[in-house]
Each structure stands twice: as C-alpha cells, then as structure tokens.
Symmetry: C4
Subunit: 227 residues, 4 copies
Amino acid sequence: MLRQALLHNEHEPVDNDGFRLRGLGFSRLDAFSDVVFGFALTLLVVSLEVPKNYEELHHLWYGFVPFGISFLLLMLVWYGHYTFFRRFGTHDAGTVWLNGLLLFVILFYVYPLKFLFLSAFGQSEVVMAGDNMREVVLLFAAGLATIYFLFSALYANAYRQRDKLALTPLERMLTRNFIVEEAGTGFVGVLVCLLAAVVPPNRAGMTCLLFMVIGVWKSVMGRRSGR
Amino acid sequence: MLRQALLHNEHEPVDNDGFRLRGLGFSRLDAFSDVVFGFALTLLVVSLEVPKNYEELHHLWYGFVPFGISFLLLMLVWYGHYTFFRRFGTHDAGTVWLNGLLLFVILFYVYPLKFLFLSAFGQSEVVMAGDNMREVVLLFAAGLATIYFLFSALYANAYRQRDKLALTPLERMLTRNFIVEEAGTGFVGVLVCLLAAVVPPNRAGMTCLLFMVIGVWKSVMGRRSGR
Amino acid sequence: MLRQALLHNEHEPVDNDGFRLRGLGFSRLDAFSDVVFGFALTLLVVSLEVPKNYEELHHLWYGFVPFGISFLLLMLVWYGHYTFFRRFGTHDAGTVWLNGLLLFVILFYVYPLKFLFLSAFGQSEVVMAGDNMREVVLLFAAGLATIYFLFSALYANAYRQRDKLALTPLERMLTRNFIVEEAGTGFVGVLVCLLAAVVPPNRAGMTCLLFMVIGVWKSVMGRRSGR
Amino acid sequence: MLRQALLHNEHEPVDNDGFRLRGLGFSRLDAFSDVVFGFALTLLVVSLEVPKNYEELHHLWYGFVPFGISFLLLMLVWYGHYTFFRRFGTHDAGTVWLNGLLLFVILFYVYPLKFLFLSAFGQSEVVMAGDNMREVVLLFAAGLATIYFLFSALYANAYRQRDKLALTPLERMLTRNFIVEEAGTGFVGVLVCLLAAVVPPNRAGMTCLLFMVIGVWKSVMGRRSGR
C-alpha cells in the first residue's frame, strides 16, 4: 500500500530517463538554494519602487517582455538545479561548494540580466551598439558558460561518487552524458565569447546566433540518452 | 497506530470535498513558490523606507486598508495554490512551467496592485478617472483572468494524468468541476475587460460590479461539487 | 528502535508542558510563515543602503541596541508561532486565515517598530514627546494587543477542534490556559491604549510601565499550567 | 532495503568524523535560518538598483572579487550552521535563542562586511587608513569573535544535553573538541581586537595577519578529532 502510494503520486522513484530519484526529500541545501532562486526571480521582476503615477505604471508594462525572458532563463537554471538534486540528492562538501558558487554567479547576474534585456527591448536610455554591444555579449556568454560548466562539475562530482551512490549501469551512462551535455552547452558560451572578441564591434550582436547551436547540441545529446 | 496518528492531526489523507491529499509532503516546488509568495506579500505591505518622521509614520497608517485588501487578494491566490498542490502533488514539467508562469504574473502584479488600491483609497497623488480608470480596470481584470486561467490549466494538466494519479470517480468529477470553476472565474475577468473597453471611460469603474458574478458562480459550482 | 531515535533527538512527541507535538513535520504553512518572519527580521536589521563612508558606518553601529530590541520582540512572536504550530499542526481554513492576519500585522509593524526604537534611543532626528509620544504608545500597544488576541484566537480555534485533534484532558486544560494567557496579554495592550488616551500627552510614555504586568500575568498563568 | 537506501545516498546516519546525524529532517529552525542566510547572501551580492548605463554596469563588475570574498565568508558560517544542526538537530529553547542571536549578528554584519571588502579593494570612495583602518579591523574581528563564540555556545548547549541526546563516547569527545575549536577561533578574533587597539593606527591592518593563526589552530584541532 505504501508502494501503491508511491506509484500514484509524483514520488515515483524513477524519472522519465530511467534515473532513480535519490533526492526527493527536502534538504537544507534545497531550502537555501530556493530562497536564493526565489529572491533572484523576485528581483528580476519587481522594480524598486511602487509606481507613483500612470506614466510610471505604463513604464512598468513595457518591461513585460524583457522581464518575461529573464524570468524564463532563470527558471531554466532552477529547473536544471531541481533536476540534478532530485536525481542525486548529494550533500557532500564538493556539492555544497559548487552549489554555493552557482548561487553566487546567479545573484551576480540578476541585475546585468535585467539591464541586458531592458536595453535589448529599448526599455532603457542606453543604446546597445559598437563596443558596448560587444561587452554585453561577452558578459552574457561568460555567465552562461560559467553556469553550465558548474552544472557539468556537479554531475562530475556525483559521478566520482558513483559507487557510493550505487548508480546502475544505465545511470552511469546517463550521468556521463549529462557531464558532456552541460559542458558542451558551456563551451558554446565560450565560443560566443571568443567570436565576439574578434569580430568588428558592430557585428558582436550577431555572434549570439551561435547560441542556437545549444538547441541542436541538446537534441543530439538527448537522443544519445534515449530521450 | 500510524493510522491513529494520521487521524489525529492535520495529515488526514482526505479533505472536506472527499479529495485524497497526495501532496502533503513538502516539495521544492512548494518551497520555491512560497519564497516568491512570501516576498510578494512582504513587498505589498512593507514600504521602501523606514519612516523618518511622524508625518511619514501617519502616511504609513493610511495604507492599512488598501494594503489589507491587496494582502487578502494575494492570500486567496496562495490558498488556491496551496489547495491545488495538496490535492495533486504533481511535479511534472507541465506543472513546473504553469507554476512558473503563475509566479511571474504574481510578481508582475505586486506593485500595480499596490498602486491600484492606494489610488482607489485616495492614498496617492493620482486621480483615477476617465481613461486612466479604464486602464486600471483593464489591468486588474486581465491579471485576475490570467491567474484563474492558469489555475484552470493546472487542474486540466492534473486531469490529463488522471490514470497515473489514480483519481477516483469522485475525484475525476471534482477535478472537472475545478477546471470549469477556475476557467469561469477567469472568464468573468475577460468580460470585465471587454465591457471596460467599450463603455465610456468614466463608466469603466462600474464594470467592476461584474466581479460580483464570481461569488454567484463559485456558489453554483460549489453546490455542483457537493460543497 | 524508532522509539529510541525519537527519544534521543529533538523529535520527542511530548514537550515540557506535557503537550504532544502534532506538528513536527514541516508544512507549507510553516514555510510560508517563516519566509515572512525571515524577511521581517531582515528588514528590521538591514538598512536600505550599504554605508558609503565612515560616518554612515558609525551611524549603523548606533542602531545596535534598538535593532537588537526589535529583533528580540519579533523573535518572541516567532517563538509563540513556532510553539503553537508544533503543538497542534492544524491546517484548517480558520488557522490559515488567522495566520494570514497575524503575518499581515507583523509586516505592517516592521517599520513602525524600527522607527519607534530608533527614536526611543535617539537614533533618529525625531523627538518623542507630547502628542507624538501618545501616538507612538497607542501604535505599539495596539499592535501588541492585536498579535496576542490573534494567538488567543489560534488556540481557541484549535480547542474548537479538540475532539478531532484528540486532545487529552491535560492538553484540553493547557489549551484553555493558553487561550486565557494570550488574551490576557492582549488585554494589557488594550489597557495601555486606554490609559495612554486619557492621561496628559507628556505622561503617555509612563503608561508603558504597565507592560510589566505581562510578566506577572505570564508567571501566574505559567504556575496554573504547571510550568 | 531501507537500510540500503540509507547507505546509498546522502542520508547516511554518520558523517566522516563518526558523528551520527540526528538532524537530517528539515525543521522550522532550519527554514527560518535559511531564509535569513539566503537574504543576507542576496543582499551581499545584489546592489540596490539595476545599472542604468554602461558605467554603472562596469562598476558592478568591479565588485566581483570583494563580493566573492564576502559571499565565501558567509557561506563558511552557513556551512558551520548546517553542520551543527545536522549533527544534533536540537530545538530546545537554548538552541533557538543562541541561533536567534547568531542570525542577528549575521544580519547586522551584512552591510559592514560589504563596505569593508569594497573599501579594501578600492571599490569605494573611502580610504582605509589610520584610525579608520583600526576601526574596521576592530569591527571585523569583533564580529568574527562573536560568531565563533556563539557556535562554541551552541556546541556547549548540545553537550549539556549529552545524556538526552545519547551521545556516544566518541561523540562526547568530538563535541568537547568542537567547543574548544570554535571558542579558540573566537579567541583569535579577540586577540586581533586587543592588538589592533594598542598598536599605532597605521599598523592596525597588519594585525589581521594574526587571522592566519586560525588555520593552524583548526588543523591542530582537526588532528585531535581524528580528521
């Protein structure tokens, strides 16, 4: 009957990939990270002050799309974090510190991200062009690379403990794939950085098209993992 | 004896409607959402700065009623969220993303809501009249509609998984009713939007009377669900 | 062995008063409330801006004692909240809404509390005297009364469900005592309000001495409860 | 099979030191503390306002190293907190109040810490020299001393309940060592304070070299504890 209960709700011990979910309990690492994620999301969307007149209220509305995109990107990072900790539930010192580093990068990027998308959608007095455009692209691509390399390192750290975690052969294969998948995504960020640094400044924005490679890469790796 | 414990405290597996409570455990989706809800509630009530003199302290008091109403509205949304996740405890990708969208809308509305009620109670230098009144009504009704449509979608997403969740015939009926009830509430918001858009601007405020239909609708649906 | 584990750590099913702890699990109501409490505490202590020079850094230090007292008062409220929910673990609609009201009052009082203690310790340009002193006393005493009446109502709401919660005769007696104890504390707040309203403004501050009655009252009630 | 599960994931009942982990469940004290820690970390990193132009964006970048160091220091305190509560899981009144005091000190230090490292790395218009340098060293050393004395007191409070917690002889020895280790670390803070107060102001900064003693002390104590 307990097993029945486990089958009937979300708490299935295996996810769609065939990964056993070792971290379904709620831990302090989860709590701590979720407070930071929740704050970051709130700060992305909520402006500093309550609008004082209709003009400021309209201004707030113009932010709908840029805030929406920043929110979506941060939710994707949260989802990656959520997925990792559900799968492994590791709480060793390595996980704690890699997680701390990840939270630091996220917090550090909240306002640049908001700035970036507000500018990109013309909701700021700043014009993105020439050298500034190059800088913004470098900033964004470096942040993306760092976050995905950290995810890759988290998976590698879990793989290092594969015997202690009693990973099945399938899980070992999937974990290796995740290490490569996340690192590859990070590598696309590095490529965008390099390219943005060498092309003429006014072309720097175009290097962002390279981010589309991430979609291709993820679908290739997804097929390898049997998704 | 375990059963005894379950009967004696809050952790009863069935709520008043006859719905089994599949999501009584505390999950990361709950944690994450509660941080955002808690932050939103705090921002609704807490002003930006500590009052510096008695005049500012008085000003803070004038906000008691408008803050109270905004707080109540947000608590109603939290209660709907709490009820849904207690009933289903779903954590599939659909739930995660619909929930993310809901949180985004809530965060986006925190300050407009505060602005709206501060203006409505004359606690702001802004006069609500004519076109501005129309805009405020549209804003509020659109937010309400979005939130209730998202709740309806969450219930529909749970219903889609009715076999996996092993919903009983009673629960299936109740879930269908919830889908309709929430969507209907959202639909009242749409009606208010449409009406506010066509009536003369200085009558826009009156269209809010239509919100009273929600009370009627909820009591009709409640009777259908045997509440 | 489970019993052994229960005896060896904090998770004893009975507290010092002889109350079984029905709410040891972590619920969403706890999470939600703790986010609000955590925010309120942070806002009490953290100033709006990072000090920019040594003068501002010194200014921050002057706040040590007033912030400490506000922090202590809020921690006392948290402890009362924590104790209540550990004892009963109720999550009925009544508890949810009384709890919501309590959180609203707490959030509403964060900045007035900070203002009050900063002024009382001369860390603000505001002089507390005459009518202003009266107002501040009324504000503080009314907040205290509201919070303790809400605690009393929470205990009364739990008592109403005494059969469903299977309270033992000892627990019923203790719960009745808690209802009276918290209401009595709230009543002292009301008395201070009344007295502050009738005495000459420049004596309003002295009515705060009446708060010492709370200590006497709590020790009387504590003896009745066998503490 | 349950035991198997316990062995295979993080939820091992014993940590590397040989300490049984009594506090693996998620409690309200953890939740409450993590909200405060999460808030403190966020405030350390996130500036008050979204950058409005490229100059402000650059300014934000200059904070990378100082924010990183403050973040690391706070994470170390969190890790100490996390470790303590995993080991003992105590929730007695003594633990609650010592923990409250710890949170107060942390919140009180968030902005001075940010100020200190921004100044130290020249990211502020403030010059640290002479008397100001002395003050900053005193401030920092006093905060460090307070935090570690509080940790020592938390361990001492757990040791006081050694019979109730059923500490094994090994755990008793380890707990005594922790009391000494944390107190010793706090004592280094006191030494730095005393030294900074007597040396000529322009040498005050040098007294910070004494903090390196902490590393030696921790490794000595670690060896005694068999780490």
